[in-house]
Amino acid sequence: MSLYAVEVEDLHLRIKGVEILRGVTLRVRRNTLFVLMGPSGSGKSTFLRTLNRLIDFVDGVELSGLVKVLGQDIYSVDPYDLRRRVVLVSQEPNPFPHMTIYDNVALPARLNKIVRTKRELDDLVRWALEKVMLWEEVKDRLKSYPHALSGGQRQRLCLARALAAKPEILLLDEPTANIDPVNTIKIEESLKSLRDEVTVIMVTHMPHQAVRVADHVALLHSGVIVEEGPAMEVFMSPKKEVTNEFLRGAL
């Protein structure tokens, strides 16, 4: 088994002729919490959606370079199988409005037949909700619908739903962008507790969030990786002027 969860070499990507990524090269070790930082419009979300091929749904994408996820070229594997193992949590909370809280979390297990019995499913749902510290808040209303939850709770519900899929890699696209500080802290705590079980790749435009959670960081700017390394090193002594500017909030 490869040491790396993600290996990307010289990835170029254009959407309708506009170059978004201009030669990204990056490796992410397994079971780390990797944060990809970058100002808005730097191509972070696009990069994240390339990793589990959600980019396939965008019109007019041209792509070159090598992207290996979990040791295999993503264009040599079945995209649905890939997405089952590499699950993405979107920026906007998107719990399915027609399913109860319970059914939302149980959905991936049902799709993939991860569990055999109702009991196992109950346990899985509870485990996932506990992981995101939502269990206490919703345990009495698992049968109600997500519109009763606050925005932050809904985002944690989505995180729980993603965890219940038992992914090998978890992709997070600015998960706390539209969320209050309390819920943000809770999400960050959950992420830290996941480090040993799953590889987490999070995208953010807020340097201080990266400081709080990351093991390893990289800075994406104008479609290229400007700098990457262990979080401490990068934050304490950035090698590039651009990184310095980003960390100061000047980008």
């Binding site: 199988d81 089952r84 799709l111």
Partner: protein, 284 residues
């Protein structure tokens, strides 16, 4: 541990193929309709030639097919008259509702027009019969047009509201910031911007009125012995003639019905295509 991806994928392919197949199967009736209309109606048109459009209908047992002139004239006039009534009403109401969406009167307007679209057209026909026809003492082209106008109104209204809603907010702001009143903006900006979609709405309303049968059943009359007898007198319509002749027991009438169907189909397809070409030119 995981359900095999293969079984899910097989299921996926099967279902997707089924959905595409159902969709393409769905359009086969149109092919059958066009085929039958050309086959049966074509024979009639070839036999009668252009006179089919200019002659009076045949008697049930005659051997010639005659023509559909009263119906053609009646349809052209009644639909024109109907949209002449509908268009200004629908236009003003649609503009009002899109400009003042929160005004109580707009709510009333929305509800009333929606309710109109729920009124069965045969009920409209009975209503016009018991008011206009009864008080005039005869069925007439005017009564038919009124029935068509009521039936077309919600349709035209919906078309115009969606046209007005398609005006970009930036354009609206630009007009307002030049100090235009809403009516001024309507006359100087919106009508110009929306001219193609408004024209399409007009055309589609005409097509709709031209093809409708039920509103005319008790209102239009069934003129056969003259091409045109006046607006306040009985008239005829192409769909009405097809309907009545199709229900009749006479073979000759069935032939006329098919000929008229082909004519109606050609008119419909032509107007529909023109309106689509117009829509395609709309870029906002």
């Amino acid at each position: 541990m995981y359900r095999s991806m293969t079984s899910r994928r097989v299921r996926n392919y099967v279902m997707v193929i089924v959905m595409v197949a159902v969709s393409f199967l769905y359009v086969t009736p149109l092919i059958s309709i066009i085929y039958t209309a050309v086959e049966r109606g074509g024979a009639v048109l070839v036999e009668a030639g252009l006179r089919f459009l200019a002659d009076l209908p045949p008697t049930p047992l005659s051997t010639s097919v005659g023509g559909i002139a009263p119906a053609l004239i009646g349809s052209l006039l009644a639909s024109a008259l109907a949209i002449l009534i509908t268009i200004p009403i629908a236009f003003l109401m649609a503009f009002y509702v899109t400009e003042f969406p929160r005004h109580p009167l707009s709510r009333v307007c929305e509800v009333v027009v929606r309710a109109f679209s729920g009124v069965p057209s045969i009920v409209v026909s009975m209503f016009i019969y018991s008011t206009v026809v009864m008080s005039m003492g005869t069925q007439s082209l005017l009564a038919g047009s009124l029935a068509l106008a009521i039936v077309t109104l919600p349709y035209t209204y919906v078309y115009f509201t969606s046209a007005f809603r398609s005006i970009p907010e930036s354009l609206r702001e630009a007009a307002m910031s030049l100090g235009m009143s809403r009516v001024g903006a309507l006359i100087h900006v919106y009508v110009g911007v929306l001219r193609r979609s408004l024209l399409t709405g007009l055309l589609m309303s005409y097509v709709r009125a031209f093809g409708d049968t039920a509103p005319l059943l008790f209102t239009m009359g069934f003129l056969m012995n003259a091409v045109f007898a006046g607006v306040l007198q009985q008239s005829n319509a192409v769909p009405l003639m097809i309907f009545v002749y199709a229900l009749s027991p006479y073979e000759n009438f069935h032939r006329v019905a098919w000929g008229a169907t082909l004519v109606l189909l050609i008119i419909y397809l032509a107007l529909f295509t023109v309106s689509r070409v117009l829509v395609r030119g709309v870029k906002l």
